[in-house]
Amino acid sequence: MSIARKTALVGVGSTPYYKRGKSLPQTMNELVCKAILAAVDDAGLLVGDIDGFAYYSGGFDTPYLMETLGIPELRFSATVTATGGGSAGAVQMAAMAVASGVAKTVVVVGGNQQAALRFGAFTSGYAPSAEGAFFAASGLVGPGHMFALLARRHMHVYGTKREHFAEIAMAMRAHAIGNPNAVMQKPLTLDDYFAAPLIADPLCLYDFCLETDGAIAVVVTSAARARDLKQVPVVIHAAMQGGERGWGRSLYWMNMPEEHFLTSGHRFVARELYRMAGLTPADIDTAQLYDHFTPMVIAQLEDYGFCRPGEGGEYVASGAIRYEGGSLPVNTDGGQLSCGYIWGMTHIREAMEQIRGTAFRQVQNVNFALATGGPSNLPLSAVILGK
């Protein structure tokens, strides 16, 4: 049995995207509940209809949500063993629960509140471990330090340039400007980019995503039931989580064979996803690619077959990922670099909006939208959504 086209996303709800710390004094659970209530309302459902939860990062408390929101019955509650890499994977889990008949109305929710620990210094919050000793001594404190190592090698082997990273940052900013949801609204020029401080050379300030507080929830139910609900159904054509050992525990073991080191880790997920959907890269009309760091957008464009390995830099330099005139508009809301960073749920939300035809920067004639969950340790994940 395949889960392809058996289920649909029927509701989406979000809090505003707050700059780090600005969501206080609201609590994290409060933000999550607000997103869930908005999502079921968007779907034309009642919160009591929810009978399942799927997450992809720790910190969520199903019984708390049931008690707080008055959800009477639970048939499914599970977490993908991932961080941002699992965002689309949680949608896959929800789709599996619904397609199998285990549950009928499953909510996927993700959220951040960075009052206690900045994500930029995420690994400094890890307890010391025997395995961690092999990277911790070197001062790889934040994810940006590790992704800088990947970026440097991609530049060395393929000739990728900082100008290519800059184009991604500038394209995302251009997409964010005017979008009422987006945190960043000021234009970004090439001069601005090169004037910015290097944080982990070759990465500068603008290569890093935002640090955002907020929560986003989506509602998954069967494709058949979706047709009778309030919104245009957004059918889950394919959903995948996983990867190959060559990428495995890439962060921060960093011992991936070169053919994996030069990727985003997504090649296997891409292949399986296209196979499940019965589609090819040429069928994708817009891609919402997990953009915690600009070089990982280039590597995903290569891994998902929009260009060949090593050609991602030239591909973005051609203007391909721009909403204005691009052949594959990427992160049309401004992405995590310029709109908001909710661990990949922003990408699920924007892919849904593009299929519904309600996006702020709506791509014309969209049949299929790709959304990915972050280059990180396995599992990585992605979905293809369509009408």
Binding site: A121, G139, L149, H156, M254
Partner: protein, 143 residues
């Protein structure tokens, strides 16, 4: 900044924890001997040290003494402190170093005591031991 000398990162950001699989690496480091685990059954190297060889699933391990020479595979120059403990040791240079006498593995380490502007991918480096105040020794690399 780039004319600066690459420093050893602050000792405060790292506390050594070992187990029976990783301990021999750090014991050797204390004696200023560079070693990485080699499967005693199929001869393949692996890092970090794990309880099974992923190639043949053997648990037999050898710890050959290495020359201490290596090649820079990739590196980053950290010039901004994101936690306060980093402030006193900027810039520092986390790097991946490949070891010619242990093919297939890389160390996640630091390039130290050289001008940051002279660091390049492909540069030959040799081990430079950093003896910490807490008795732990960490391998770094220099030209």
């Amino acid at each position: 900044m780039t004319s600066d000398t690459a420093k050893v990162p602050a000792e405060e950001i790292f506390e050594l924890i070992t187990d029976q699989w990783t301990g021999p690496y750090w014991d050797a480091a204390r004696r200023h001997v560079l070693t990485v685990p080699k499967c005693a059954s199929c001869g393949k190297f692996r890092m970090p040290p794990t309880p099974f060889c992923p190639h043949c699933l053997s648990q037999e391990i050898e710890w050959p003494e290495l020359s201490g020479g290596g090649t820079i595979y990739s590196y980053t120059v950290v010039t901004r402190a994101i936690i306060p403990q980093m402030e006193t040791t900027l810039p520092y240079v986390p790097a991946l170093v490949e070891l010619p006498d242990a093919p297939g593995v890389r160390l996640v380490t630091n390039i130290v005591d050289v001008p940051v502007s002279e660091i390049k991918v492909g540069q030959a480096v040799k081990v430079r031991w950093h003896d910490r105040r807490d008795g732990v020794t960490v391998p770094c690399f220099t030209f």
